[in-house]
C-alpha cells in the first residue's frame, strides 16, 4: 500500500489531540477539529440507535403476520428510525464531522469564522438529541418522520411535540453550521486560493450550506405551527377547523426535498476528492462538478411537489413539479459522468476509500434513476407509499450518503487521528456493506413494484421470500458497519503512525502533519496550483 512509502518523521509534537486532556478542554473547545470529533462521536451514537430501530423493523418484517410487535409499536419503530437517521445522523453526518474538520483546512484557515457558534451548534444538536431520546423513553412517536397533519396535530397519542421540538432544535444547529461554512469560504481563503481552485469538497459544502440556510427555517416554523395546533387545539392545518393539511405538506417539503440534497451533496464532495486521488488524475470537468452542486442546491427548491402527487395537490401543479424534477436529475447525472470520466484511463487503485466511492457511484445512480421514475406522475400513482419509494431513498441515502461518509472517514481517518487503520479488514467490511446493502434494498424495489405498501407491520404471504432476503441482507449490512467501529477504535491504540499524506493526495489538508496542530498549519499556506494537480506530476514521474 502506498501508505508506507512516505517517511514517518512528520508527526508534530503538539497537535490538536494532545493539546489538553481534560473533559473541559473538549466540552468547551472552540477548535473546529475537536468539535468535528465531538460530532463524530455523537452521530455514531445516534447511528447505532437508529440502527437498532431499523433492526426491529426488519425483524418484524421477517414473517408475514404482525407477530413480533403490534401495529402501534411497529409504527413507532419506523418513525424513530426515520427521525433519528435523518435529523440526527444523515443531515449532520458529513458536514458536521468531515466538513467541520476539513473545510477550514482546505481553504487554508486557522478555524471557521465563528468558532463559538460552531460549538453552540454542537450543543444545540445534543439538546435536540436529548429531546429525541426523551421522546423515545416517553413511549416514542408514530407519525412517520414527516409529521403529517392532521394525524400528528390531532390524532396521534404519542410524544409528537417532544420529537418535533428535537427536530426543531437540531435544525438550528444545522443552520449555524451552514452559516459558518459560507462565511468561512467567502472570507477566509488562503492567499492564491481562488474560487476556481477550491476543492470540490468545499464547493459541495458551500452549496449544502445554502440549502441549510434557506430551507431549514421553513421547516422550523412549520413544526412550530404544527406543535401550536396540537398543543392548543387551534387550526392551522386541521380540516375540521377550516385548515388545509396539504399546506403542511407544502411547507414541510419546501424544506425536506432540498434537505435530501443536504443529505447527498456533501457526500458528492467526498467522492470527488476520493475518485481523483485514487485515479491519480485531474478531475474531469471541474467547473461542471462545481457548478452542478450549485445547480442542485437551487433547482432543488423548485421540485418539492413531487412528494404530493396523490396528496390532493392540483394536477396542474403536479405537472409543473414533475417536469422540474426531471431537470434536477441532470446536474446529478453530470457528476456521475464526470467521476466516471475521471477514472477513465486513470491509474486506479482499489484502496478502501475508493471501494466506497465506486459503491457510491453505482448505487447513487440506481437511486437517482428510480427517483426519476417516481417523478413521473403516472408511475407515482402506483408506486407512491410503496416499498419502491423506500428502496429509492435508501439507495441514495444509504447507498449514497452513508457510503460516502464511510469512504470519507477512511480517507481522512489518518489525518484526523494520526493513525492508520487495518486495510484488509477495511476492504472486507466495505465488501460486506456493499453486498449487505444490495441484498437488503434491491428486493424492496421489486416488493414495491408488486404493490407492498410501506409502513405496515404485516404483509401477504407472497411477499415473504423477498422480505426474508431483505432482513438477511440487513444483518450482513449490520456486520459491515460494526467492523469499522472495531478496527477504527483498535487503530487508535495499536494503529501505525500515519504520515502527513498516506495516500499521496493533493490538497492543503495533506500538507500539514497528521494529526494537525491546533492552528492547522505551521505557516499560512499559499496556493499556487489548481486543485487535483495529479496528472502533471504523475506524467513527469513516469518519463
Amino acid at each position: 500500500m502506498s501508505a508506507l512509502t512516505e517517511p514517518r518523521h512528520y508527526t508534530s509534537e503538539l497537535n490538536y489531540l494532545n493539546n489538553g486532556w481534560t473533559l473541559k478542554s473538549w466540552l468547551l473547545t472552540k477548535d473546529h477539529k475537536r468539535i468535528a470529533m465531538l460530532y463524530l462521536i455523537s452521530i455514531t451514537v445516534f447511528f447505532a440507535l437508529g440502527g437498532l430501530f431499523a433492526a426491529a423493523v426488519r425483524l418484524e418484517l421477517l414473517t408475514p403476520p404482525g407477530d413480533l410487535m403490534d401495529a402501534e409499536t411497529y409504527n413507532k419503530m419506523f418513525t424513530m428510525h426515520g427521525v433519528i437517521m435523518i435529523f440526527f445522523f444523515l443531515i449532520p453526518s458529513v458536514p458536521a464531522t468531515l466538513g467541520n474538520f476539513l473545510v477550514p483546512m482546505m481553504v487554508g484557515a486557522k478555524d471557521l469564522a465563528f468558532p463559538r457558534v460552531n460549538l453552540l451548534s454542537w450543543y444545540l444538536y445534543v439538546l435536540g438529541g436529548i429531546f429525541a431520546i426523551y421522546a423515545a423513553v416517553q413511549g416514542g412517536v408514530d407519525t412517520g418522520w414527516t409529521f403529517y397533519t392532521p394525524y400528528s396535530s390531532t390524532y396521534s397519542n404519542t410524544a409528537v411535540i417532544v420529537t418535533a421540538m428535537g427536530a426543531f432544535v437540531a435544525g438550528f444547529s444545522s443552520i449555524l453550521t451552514g452559516l459558518n461554512f459560507i462565511v468561512t469560504v467567502h472570507k477566509m481563503r488562503a492567499p492564491g486560493l481562488t474560487w476556481g481552485r477550491l476543492p470540490l469538497f468545499v464547493w459541495a459544502h458551500y452549496a449544502t450550506s445554502l440549502i441549510q440556510l434557506l430551507g431549514t427555517p421553513v421547516v422550523a416554523i412549520t413544526l412550530v405551527l404544527m406543535m401550536l395546533e396540537r398543543g392548543l387545539r387551534i387550526g392551522f392545518f386541521d380540516p375540521a377547523l377550516g385548515g388545509d393539511p396539504v399546506l403542511f405538506q407544502h411547507l414541510f417539503w419546501f424544506y425536506s426535498h432540498p434537505a435530501v440534497y443536504i443529505m447527498i451533496l456533501p457526500g458528492m464532495g467526498v467522492i470527488s476528492e476520493i475518485v481523483t486521488c485514487f485515479s491519480r488524475k485531474h478531475v474531469f470537468g471541474y467547473p461542471f462538478i462545481a457548478g452542478s452542486s450549485l445547480a442542485i442546491a437551487i433547482l432543488g427548491f423548485f421540485v418539492w411537489g413531487h412528494h404530493m402527487f396523490v396528496a390532493g395537490q392540483s394536477t396542474y401543479a403536479s405537472m409543473v413539479f414533475s417536469l422540474i424534477t426531471f431537470f434536477v436529475a441532470a446536474p446529478s447525472a453530470v457528476k456521475v459522468f464526470n467521476w466516471t470520466a475521471t477514472m477513465y484511463k486513470g491509474s486506479v487503485s482499489y484502496a478502501t476509500p475508493m471501494l466506497y466511492a465506486m459503491g457510491f457511484i453505482g448505487l447513487f445512480t440506481i437511486g437517482g434513476v428510480t427517483g426519476v421514475m417516481l417523478a413521473t406522475t403516472a408511475l407515482d400513482l402506483h408506486l407512491h407509499d410503496t416499498y419502491f419509494v423506500v428502496a429509492h431513498f435508501h439507495y441514495v441515502m444509504v447507498g449514497g450518503m452513508v457510503m460516502a461518509f464511510m469512504g470519507g472517514l477512511h480517507f481522512w481517518w489518518p489525518k484526523m487521528t494520526g493513525r492508520m487503520y487495518h486495510e484488509i479488514w477495511a476492504r472486507i467490511s466495505a465488501g460486506l456493506v456493499f453486498i449487505g446493502f444490495n441484498l437488503t434494498f434491491f428486493p424492496q424495489f421489486i416488493l414495491g413494484y408488486m404493490g407492498m405498501p410501506r409502513r405496515y407491520h404485516a404483509y401477504p404471504e407472497e411477499f415473504v421470500v423477498l422480505n426474508v432476503m431483505s432482513t438477511a441482507g440487513s444483518s450482513v449490512l449490520g456486520v459491515g458497519y460494526l467492523l469499522p467501529a472495531i478496527y477504527f477504535i483498535y487503530s487508535l491504540y495499536r494503529g501505525e503512525q500515519a504520515p502527513p499524506n498516506p495516500f499521496r493526495a493533493k490538497g492543503l489538508e495533506w500538507e500539514t502533519p497528521s494529526p494537525p496542530p491546533t492552528e492547522n498549519f505551521l505557516t499560512t499556506p499559499v496556493v499556487t496550483e489548481d486543485a487535483y494537480a495529479y496528472a502533471e506530476k504523475e506524467v513527469k514521474a513516469l518519463v
Binding site: 465563528f114 457558534v117 459560507i182 462565511v183 472570507k187 421553513v218 392551522f236 377547523l241 377550516g242 388545509d244
Partner: protein
C-alpha cells in the same frame, strides 16, 4: 444572532479585538457582517412560512379575513408602526455615532432604541389583552359571537397571534441585545475602529422593523 460576533469581544484595546482565526480587523469586520446578513436570510425564510400560510388562507377565505381584520385596532397598530420606525431611526443614528466615535451619543441612542422597543411591546400587550377581553384568542379564550364564519375567522386569529407573537419574541430578543449593547457601550468598548457589534445588532433591529412593516398592512389594513 448576537452569537455571530461573540468570538470578537474579549478585550478592550482595538487591536486585541481581532480574534485568533482572523488575519486582521477588516477580515473580521466583513465576516461578522456577512454572518449577520446570512442569519437575516434565514429569518426571512422563517417568517416566510407564515406568510405562505397567510397567502393561502387569505385567498381561500377573503370574507372571513375581512371580518376578522375589522376587529383589529388600526390606530394602535399605526402608532406601533411609528414607534418602531422611530426606534429604527435611533438605531441607525446609534451606528452612526459609533462610526464617528461619539460615545455618549451612542449610549443615548441605544437607550432610546431600547425604550421604543419596550413601548412597542407595551402597546402590543395592550392589544393582546383587548383581544383576550373580547374572547378572540383561539385555543385559550375563543368565543366568536359576531355572526357567521367563526371557523374561518379563527384561522386568521391563529395567524395573527402566530405572526405577531413570533415578531414580539424577536423584539424581546432585540431588547435583550440592546441591554447588552448599552452595558458594553457604557464601558467604552466601541470606537470608529471597532463597532461591528453595534452595526450588526442594528441590522437585526432593522430586520425586525421590516417584518412589522409588512405585518401591519396584512393584519390590520386589508
Amino acid at each position: 444572532m448576537s452569537d455571530a460576533h461573540v468570538g470578537t469581544l474579549e478585550h478592550t484595546h482595538d487591536e486585541e479585538h481581532v480574534a485568533h482565526q482572523f488575519d486582521n480587523a477588516q477580515q473580521q469586520y466583513e465576516s461578522g457582517n456577512l454572518g449577520m446578513w446570512l442569519f437575516l436570510l434565514t429569518e426571512v425564510m422563517f417568517f416566510g412560512g407564515m406568510f405562505g400560510a397567510y397567502a393561502v388562507y387569505r385567498t381561500w377565505y377573503p370574507d372571513a379575513f375581512e371580518i376578522a381584520s375589522r376587529t383589529t385596532n388600526i390606530p394602535l397598530g399605526a402608532m406601533n408602526t411609528l414607534v418602531l420606525i422611530v426606534s429604527s431611526l435611533t438605531m441607525a443614528l446609534g451606528v452612526q455615532s459609533a462610526q464617528l466615535g461619539k460615545r455618549k451619543r451612542l449610549a443615548w441612542m441605544i437607550a432610546l432604541t431600547m425604550f421604543f422597543g419596550l413601548v412597542f411591546l407595551g402597546v402590543k400587550a395592550a392589544e393582546y389583552s383587548e383581544k383576550w377581553h373580547h374572547q378572540h384568542v383561539p385555543g385559550l379564550n375563543w368565543n366568536w359571537t359576531e355572526g357567521e364564519g367563526g371557523r374561518e375567522v379563527q384561522i386568521l386569529f391563529c395567524l395573527y397571534f402566530a405572526m405577531t407573537g413570533m415578531h414580539a419574541m424577536h423584539m424581546v430578543v432585540g431588547v435583550g441585545i440592546m441591554t447588552w449593547l448599552l452595558i458594553t457601550a457604557l464601558k467604552g468598548r466601541y470606537s470608529p475602529a471597532y463597532y461591528n457589534p453595534v452595526e450588526i445588532s442594528g441590522l437585526y433591529w432593522h430586520f425586525v422593523d421590516i417584518v412589522w412593516i409588512f405585518l401591519f398592512p396584512l393584519l390590520y389594513l386589508i
